[in-house]
Assembly symmetry: none
Homo-oligomer: 196 residues x 4
C-alpha cells in the first residue's frame, strides 16, 4: 500500500517510480502536457494498467511533481557547475544564461517537459516563486557589490526569467537555431541591461 508510504521506499519501488517518470517525460515531449494522461503514460511505460501508476503515486500532482523534480535536478546539475566556474555576479549571470540555452540541446526532453509543466500544470506557483527569489537575490547582491547598475531587481528578475523561458521554448520548437549563439545574445542583452 505504497503511494508515498512515508517516503521509506524500497529499491523496486524507486525503480518503478523512475520508470513511470521517464515515461511521463516521453509522453509530454511527444504529445504535450494536456495529453499526458495516465493511460498514455502507462502505455508508453509498457504497463498494462493505469492502476499501476495510481499505486505508486498518490495522485497526478504527485507524479507531475516528481517529473518536475527530476527535470529541475538535471537542469541544476548542468547549470550549477558552469555558474560555479564563473567569478563574480556579472559572469555568473552570463554563465547562467548561456548554459541554460546549451541545456536545451543537451537535454531537450527534460527541458521540454519542464516548460510544458510550468506553463500548463495548475500547481506550480511555488516553483515559479522559488526561481524568482533566487534571481532577485542574485541581482540585489550584485548591485550591493557594485557589479550591477541601478534598477528594480524584482522587475529585472521577472524580465530575465521570462526571456529565458521564451528563448528556451523557441529553441525547442526550432532545432535548427544555433543555441550557443542565441545564448550569447541573451547574455549580451542582459549584460548591457544590468551594467552599472
Amino acid at each position: 500500500m505504497p503511494a508515498n508510504a512515508a517516503k521509506g521506499r524500497t529499491f523496486t519501488e524507486s525503480a518503478r517510480r523512475a520508470q513511470i517518470v521517464a515515461a511521463a517525460i516521453a509522453v509530454i515531449n511527444e504529445h504535450g502536457y494536456a495529453a499526458a494522461s495516465f493511460t498514455r503514460i502507462a502505455k508508453q511505460a509498457g504497463l498494462s494498467s493505469t492502476g499501476m501508476i495510481s499505486y505508486h503515486f498518490a495522485n497526478k500532482d504527485d507524479l507531475i511533481g516528481e517529473v518536475l523534480t527530476e527535470a529541475t535536478t538535471v537542469a541544476y546539475q548542468f547549470i550549477a557547475p558552469r555558474m560555479d566556474a564563473a567569478t563574480g555576479y556579472r559572469a555568473k549571470l552570463r554563465a547562467r544564461l548561456e548554459s541554460n540555452m546549451q541545456l536545451v540541446r543537451a537535454h531537450p526532453g527534460h527541458v521540454r517537459a519542464l516548460m510544458e509543466i510550468a506553463q500548463n500544470a495548475p500547481k506550480t506557483p511555488e516553483f515559479v516563486d522559488q526561481r524568482f527569489g533566487l534571481f532577485a537575490a542574485h541581482l540585489r547582491a550584485g548591485q550591493d557589490a557594485g557589479e550591477f547598475g541601478t534598477f528594480n531587481a524584482d522587475a529585472m528578475a521577472v524580465t530575465i526569467i521570462g526571456a529565458i523561458d521564451a528563448m528556451v521554448i523557441g529553441l525547442v520548437l526550432h532545432p535548427e537555431v544555433d543555441a550557443a549563439e542565441f545564448g550569447r545574445e541573451l547574455a549580451d542583452t542582459f549584460d548591457r541591461a544590468t551594467r552599472p
Copy 2:
C-alpha cells in the same frame, strides 16, 4: 441554426455570442484555460445547457478564437494609439512596453485570458509567430535607421516578448505591484539593451 451562419448575424445572435465570450473570459480568469469547459462557461453565463454554446459557436476552437479576437482587439486599441503618439523606433518600443503593462491594470480579465489561451491552447502558433514577426521587423528597421545598436534581432525579439509575457503574468498575479513602475523598468531595461 447559426454556428457561423455565413456571418450574417442578428442583434440577438451577436449579443449572445458576446455574452458567451464574456463568460468564457470570466471562467478562464477564475479557473484557467484547462478548466474552461462548456459546462462551466454555460453556468457562468447563466445558460441552462451547453447546447446553447454549441448553437452559437461551431466548436470550441471557434469560441476560443472569438475570445482571442476580442482580447487582442482590446489590447490593440489600448496600445496602438500610445505607440502612434511616440516618435522613432526607440520611443515606440518604450511606448509599447509601458502601455502593455498599463493595459494589465486597465483590462486585467482580457489580458489574463489572452495569456492563458496563448500558452495553453493548441492552435495558437500562428498568433505567436505573427507577434514575433512584428517585433523582429521593428527591431531590424530601427537598426537600419541607426536608432538601435548591433544585436541579433530574432534573439532580441524572442527576449522582449518573453519578458513582456512574464511581467504581464506577474502583474496579474500580484495586483499590489505598481504596474506603471514595472513598465518603466521594463522599458528602461530594453532601452539599455538595444542602445547603439
Copy 3:
C-alpha cells in the same frame, strides 16, 4: 401553423415542401441517410433555420415519407409505361427488371435516395409489403395464365425484389458498369427461373 394543415396546401407551401424534399434527396445522395439531419438539409436548401423544415413537415418521418413518395413516383413514371408497352406477364416482368436498371442511370439521385431510405429508415415495412404484394400478385396471375411455371410465388417475389435492390445498389456504387447489360442479365435470370 401548417405542418400538414389538413392537406389544404397553398402554392407557396407546396413549393417550399418540394424545395426541402429536393434538398433532402441531395443530402442523402451526398452523405447517406444517417447524415441527413435537418441541419444539413436546411443548409443544402439554403434555409437559415431548421425551424423552417419543422414548420412545413410534422416531423422527420413526414419529410422522409414525402421523399419516398417523390422518389417512388419518379420510378413509377419511368417504369410503368415500359411495362404497359409489354404484352403478357413474362414480357412485363422482363420490362420491369430491365427498366428498373435503366432507371438507375436515368435518375441516379432518386434511386440512391430510395435505397438509402428503404434500408435505413425505421418506418418502411408498409412500403416493403406493398411492393411485395404487387410482385406476388403478378407472379400468381402469370402462373394462372400459364405463362410462368410452378414455384412458390411468395418466395419468388422476395427473391426478385432482393435481386433488384442488390443490383440497383451495385449499379449505384459502380457507375462504370453497363446498366442495360446487367438489366438484361437480370431479366434473363428470372426468365429462366420462372419458365413453365
Copy 4:
C-alpha cells in the same frame, strides 16, 4: 486499461467482451442497428455505465466489428460443413442457399444482427466485396467445369446475394414462414437460372 491491450486477454476480460457482444446483438435485434447505442447496450448487459463498454472496446467500430466476427463465425460454422458435404458446384450452390435459410431459424439473433450491420454500418464494404468475390469465383469455376450455363457471373453473383439477403430478412420478420421450404424454393430458382 484494456480496450485491446495487444490482444492478450484475461478470462474475465474475454467474458465481459462476450457479454457485451451478446448484449449488442440483443439490442440490434430488438431496436435495429441505428438504435444500438452504448447506453442501450449497457442497460441490456446490466452494466451501470457506458464507460464500461469503452473500457473493453476501443470504440464503437471495434465493438461492431466483434459482433460481426461473432455472427459470421456462427454462420460459417453452420453453412460450411453443409457445403462441404455436397459434391459439385451445382450441389454446393444449393447447399449454400438452403443451409443459409435454415440458419435463420437456428440462429435468428445472429442473422438479424448480421443483416442490420451489413446494411447500416458505414464500414462494411470490404465485407460485402469479399462475399461478392467468393460467389463470383464459385460461379465462374462452375461455368468452366461445365456445370453452369452461360451468363454474366458478376451479375448473377449480385443477384443471388441480393436474393439471399432479402429472403433472410423476410424470414426474420415472418417467423411463421417455413424456412426450409423457402430455402428449397430459392435453391430451385437459381438451379433453373444457372442450368447449362
